[in-house]
Structure formats: structure tokens, C-alpha cells
């Protein structure tokens, strides 16, 4: 269940009256304005909207990478907009997995070592870390590329390593910022297949930012951001939200 009117209760993600302003060259820019959002566990949400509409900013706020100007972000009972420093970092490590458009792998580390990074922040033993990493890489179909460096992988494979890194610590939420934006259609479809599988089989709560309608179609719910405001899309509205409403 996804609501944008701020009337939901007890959802996994509860965003209330969220404002985000940036200052650029003495000018104040309202990126998000009074945004409300409730998302239940296991939902797969896609955000679409023109450039500068605040999609990535919203993703960053949900992931605790940025702090709101006003309003609250409450996830799994924690008001993360009130957390800072070490506590926020620890919260992020436990609850959030990020997938970026440009993969953001560390080039001097192998696929195994890149995926292992989030686990280095946990108390897992070396053997436990190895088991987790191998399972994550197997899930994205890269068991045979475990000791390859990013430069030895294709773009699609690099993104799959990035997905393995995002899920290896079993986070509550996956935040995907245009994960297919730098890939061709075939590789992009492979990535979307994995993300869809994480939603359906592993019941991960997923937020996907995309400009690609094909990618957005994979989501359970499509939300449109425009000029800092979240619009609930209905069958009657300008944009269809549910796959069945989109007539595709």
C-alpha cells in the first residue's frame, strides 16, 4: 500500500511534510515542498519526473544521505531525519542498500572485495563474510566473476556487482538511482529482472528513480514528482500508476 496524502499509519516508510531547499548563488531553490509518503514493507515504487524535480533528493533523504530542511522521515520506527553522525551511518549500514547509475565500484578491489565492503562494518567472521558475499554474487549470476576487477567486467556485470554489494548485508530497503541509465537495453533488462526478483522473491522494499518508462513499468507503483511535489497517479490522471492502468 502506498499513500501520498499523509494519512497512513504504521507503514515502513513514513514521510511527513518534507521540505528540502538548496542555496545556489544566493538563490533559494525549493526542491521538495510539503511532501508526504507512506510505503508498506515489500512495495516496489518507481519515481519519475523531469530533471531537477527532486527524485534523487528524495531518494537521498530516504537513505539518510541528506537532511531535510523541514519535516520528518521515519523508517522502520526510526526518525532518521533526527539522526546524525555515527548513529545515522550505523542505521544506513543496517537498513539501506544503494544502487547508483555509475555503479561506483572501487576499481582496485575485486568483485568479491567490493561486495564484502558493507560486511566489514559488521561483526561477521571472515568465513561468514565469505558465505554472504558468495551468496550475493550467485544471486546476481556472477559466481564465475568473483575475482575479477571492475575493469575486467562489462557495464551490466559491474552493475550486478553493485547490486550484490547493495544486498549483501540484507538491508530493509533498496534505493536504486537510475540503475539502467548507463546500460544498453539488454543489459538494462537483466538488471531490472534482478531488481524485480528482489522485490517478488525476497520482498525487499524498493525505490527506483528512473527516466525510463520501461524500467518504471516493472514497479508495483509509479509516483510522479514535479516541481517538488509528489503526485499520486491514477487511471484518470495524466499518468497511469499501476501496470494494469497503463494499458501496456
Amino acid at each position: 500500500m502506498v499513500r501520498v496524502d499523509g494519512t497512513g499509519t504504521g507503514a515502513l516508510v513514513e514521510i511527513r511534510n518534507l521540505d528540502k531547499k538548496y542555496h545556489r548563488g544566493g538563490e533559494e531553490i525549493d526542491v521538495l515542498r510539503g511532501l508526504n509518503l507512506d510505503v508498506e514493507k515489500g512495495e516496489f515504487i518507481a519515481f519519475m519526473g523531469p530533471s531537477g524535480s527532486g527524485k534523487t533528493t528524495l531518494l537521498n533523504l530516504i537513505g539518510g544521505l541528506d537532511t531535510p530542511t523541514a519535516g520528518t522521515v521515519r523508517i522502520a520506527g526510526d526518525t532518521i531525519s533526527a539522526l546524525s553522525g555515527r548513529r545515522l551511518a550505523a542505521w544506513r549500514a543496517r537498513h539501506i542498500g544503494f544502487i547508483f547509475q555509475m555503479y561506483n565500484l572501487i576499481p582496485v578491489l575485486t568483485a568479491f572485495q567490493n561486495v564484502q565492503l558493507p560486511l566489514l562494518l559488521t561483526g561477521l567472521s571472515k568465513a561468514e563474510r565469505r558465505a554472504h558475499v558468495e551468496a550475493a554474487l550467485a544471486l546476481v549470476g556472477l559466481s564465475d566473476r568473483i575475482h575479477h576487477y571492475p575493469r575486467q567486467l562489462s557495464g551490466g556485470q559491474e552493475q550486478r556487482v553493485a547490486i550484490a554489494r547493495a544486498i549483501v548485508a540484507d538491508p530493509t530497503i533498496l534505493l536504486c538511482d537510475e540503475p539502467t541509465g548507463d546500460l544498453d537495453r539488454a543489459a538494462g533488462d537483466e538488471i531490472l529482472d534482478i531488481i524485480s526478483r528482489l522485490s517478488k522473491e525476497f520482498k525487499k522494499t524498493i525505490f527506483l528513480v528512473t527516466h525510463d518508462p520501461v524500467a518504471a513499468k516493472r514497479s508495483g507503483t509509479l509516483l510522479h514528482l514535479d516541481k517538488g511535489t509528489l503526485l499520486e497517479c491514477t487511471a484518470e490522471g495524466p499518468l497511469a500508476c499501476k501496470p494494469e492502468d497503463r494499458g501496456q
Partner: protein, 379 residues
């Protein structure tokens, strides 16, 4: 330790840059090792000086002598327990490059003033009973392969001719800093054979019964010989040794100046390297923070990289310096105690690590304060 691998692979990213930075540390710490060894060697007399001993020398200069008759007068000064004397001989073995310190000593009193040198009664007696006998230090015995019973010819630079000595003893001491290559022989033998300065000695060493009375005793001795043809200057053994070392200039200031310049340069070079490394990895640092690495850990990670460079490069420089000093005195006699002591090695390592930490702190703070969203936007 979990991030050790990450630190090491980061060092291997730009191999040439890392090699040059390591090289800077290596050269700087090698230089430090050699300079501090020279300083220690020049000041070794200062370190071994006894607190209860005074040195009486000619007021004009150390190379001017004092009458042997002064000993009886010195002994009459209150708090003086014993007085012995020695004279610089300045001999060398076969070639000038084989120069080492050699002194004529007063056999009957020397042991009582310098108890830190140990001999068996038998070997001391053999030395005392042989007018041409001599005592050598373990390093000298090792250097020329001399042993008890050997007859050694020395060329005398002051009194001329070849002088022969019988090795009667090799002293022992537990204090490493006391074992420089040196030879002692009978003052009587010197005074009998030399053509001038008969009845004169180089300096006296006076043992006092209470170190607290040293100033009072020194003043009393100098007062006793005031207005005589051989006025004296009495000072603590430590001051005497320091004055001897400073004859060639203010070594401490020289070393400090060179060391400071080298370390300041090192700081700039390494600081610049680390700043570049952090700047190039802004995005990766943001990713590490995104996955949950907290700010202090990021700070430590960058600092550790800088300190690792310092430890590896500095350590290599110190090892090279140690190897260099193991070859012994490179000057052929001017730096008798040319020894890179473990405490100096530890000091060098501590300095290298401090320089590494200082060079890394500003880039590390920058990395720590990095805002994730800003850093990711820079991609």
C-alpha cells in the same frame, strides 16, 4: 585490520607517486639516522661522563699541559677523593687512516677514578708490571685482530718516532657507549722517552666524594692555581666532554636545522600526495560513507594510509642507516662511537610516524567532513 587490504591497495593505485613518496621518507630517515649517529658519536663523551668527576685542564686551551706536581695540591682540596691524569698521545697504527685515540695514563690511580672499566686482577697486574704494556678496548682488538700478548708499533704524531707497546689487557664494560676503539699505556713510559714537556700532563680527572660539592671543589682548585704559569680551568666531566664536542661547531643546532628543514619538506611532499589521493577518490569515499562507514573511520582510513607510507619509507631509511653504521666509523677515527643506538632508531621511527600523521591530518579531515550528496554529485 579489516581495512588493511583497502589501505594497501590504495597505496598501489599510483605506483610511481607512492614510490616517490616512500623514497622521500626513506632518504629523510636515512639522513636522520646518519645525523643523529654523528651527533651521538661526537657527544658520546658527554653521555658517559660521571656526575662525581671533574676535569682540570689548562685555562688557555686543552692542548696546553699542566704540571704533574698539581696532583698533590688537588688532593688537598676538601671533598677530593682521588685525582688521576692522562695525556693525549696521538699515535696511529701503520697509516694515518688507522688513527684512534690513545692516551698515557697514571697506572696507580686510573682504576680508582674510572671503575666502569673492568679487568681481571691478573691482566691488570700484567699491565701494571710492564712499562711498555698497554690496555685496548674490545672494538680496537676487533678492528686490527689484536690479542693479549701482541706487540704493537704506533707512530707518534707529537713526539715522533715509532713506539712499541705490549697488549696486556682488553677491558670489559657492560656499557656499549664506552667501547670505542682506544688504547691506554703508562704515563711513565711516555714521560721517560719524550723529548719535551717532561713532567707535564694533559689533564686531571678528579673524583669528589659528593657530587653536590662539585662547584665548590672546582672553584677551590682554580683558585689554588690562579696567577701561576699554568692556570687551570675545572669543570664537570660532562661540560668538559660537551666543550670538546663543540670545538667543531654547534653540532646540536646544525643537526636540528638540517633535520627540521628535511622534515618540513617531507611534510609538504606527503601532505600534497595525500591531498591528491583523497581528491581523486572523493567519489569512492562517498560510497564508503553511503554503505555505512562513519566519519571517524574514514578519518582513520586516510590517516592510516599516510602513516603506512611513513612507516614503510621511514623504516626502510632507518634500516639503511643502521646497515651503513654497521660498517663502522666512516671518517677513520674522528667518530669513534659511530653507533646507531636502538633508542635513536625508535626516535626516528616515532618521528616518521608523526610526520606521516601530520601530513595526513588535513586531507583526512577533509575526507571526514565530506558530504555524501556533494561528493556523489561531483562524479
Amino acid at each position: 585490520m579489516k581495512f588493511l587490504h583497502l589501505i594497501l591497495v590504495n597505496l598501489r593505485r599510483k605506483k610511481m607517486r607512492t614510490a616517490l613518496t616512500l623514497g622521500s621518507f626513506m632518504v629523510a630517515l636515512f639522513l636522520f639516522g646518519i645525523l643523529i649517529t654523528i651527533k651521538t658519536a661526537l657527544g658520546s663523551g658527554v653521555d658517559v661522563a660521571g656526575v662525581d668527576r671533574l676535569v682540570v685542564r689548562n685555562r688557555v686551551s686543552l692542548i696546553q699541559p699542566l704540571p704533574i706536581a698539581y696532583r698533590e695540591q688537588i688532593l688537598r682540596v676538601p671533598h677530593v677523593e682521588e685525582a688521576t691524569f692522562a695525556t693525549w698521545f696521538g699515535g696511529y697504527y701503520q697509516d694515518m687512516k688507522n688513527f684512534f685515540p690513545n692516551f698515557a695514563i697514571d697506572v696507580s690511580t686510573y682504576r680508582r677514578v674510572y671503575p666502569e672499566y673492568r679487568f681481571s686482577e691478573e691482566s691488570w697486574r700484567a699491565f701494571a708490571e710492564d712499562r711498555e704494556g698497554c690496555i685496548i678496548s674490545p672494538p680496537l682488538a676487533k678492528k686490527f685482530g689484536w690479542k693479549v700478548g701482541d706487540r704493537i708499533p704506533l707512530e707518534a704524531t707529537i713526539w715522533g718516532g715509532t713506539w712499541e707497546f705490549n697488549v696486556r689487557a682488553i677491558y670489559e664494560t657492560e656499557r656499549r657507549e664506552l667501547t670505542s676503539p682506544e688504547l691506554w699505556f703508562h704515563y711513565d713510559y711516555l714521560d721517560e722517552r719524550r723529548g719535551f714537556w717532561k713532567g707535564l700532563v694533559g689533564w686531571y680527572t678528579v673524583k669528589v666524594d659528593d657530587p653536590a660539592s662539585a662547584v665548590e671543589v672546582a672553584a677551590a682548585i682554580d683558585e689554588r692555581f690562579a696567577n701561576s704559569p699554568y692556570e687551570s680551568k675545572t669543570e664537570t666531566e660532562k661540560a668538559f666532554a660537551a666543550g670538546f664536542a663543540n670545538q667543531i661547531g654547534n653540532i646540536r643546532l646544525l643537526m636540528l636545522s638540517i633535520g627540521s628543514v628535511v622534515f618540513f619538506t617531507l611534510l609538504l611532499v606527503t601532505g600534497n600526495t595525500m591531498a591528491s589521493a583523497v581528491r581523486e577518490r572523493t567519489n569512492e569515499l562517498a560510497v564508503l560513507k553511503t554503505i555505512g562507514m562513519n566519519d571517524p573511520t574514514v578519518l582513520v582510513l586516510v590517516m592510516a594510509e599516510s602513516v603506512a607510507v611513513a612507516a614503510i619509507g621511514g623504516g626502510a631509511g632507518l634500516v639503511l642507516a643502521k646497515l651503513f653504521t654497521l660498517r663502522g666509523d666512516p671518517t677513520g677515527g674522528m667518530l669513534q662511537n659511530f653507533y646507531f643506538a636502538p633508542r635513536n632508531l625508535a626516535l626516528g621511527l616515532a618521528l616518521a610516524l608523526a610526520a606521516g600523521a601530520a601530513a595526513g591530518i588535513i586531507p583526512a579531515l577533509g575526507a571526514m567532513r565530506l558530504k555524501i550528496v556533494d561528493a556523489l554529485r561531483r562524479v
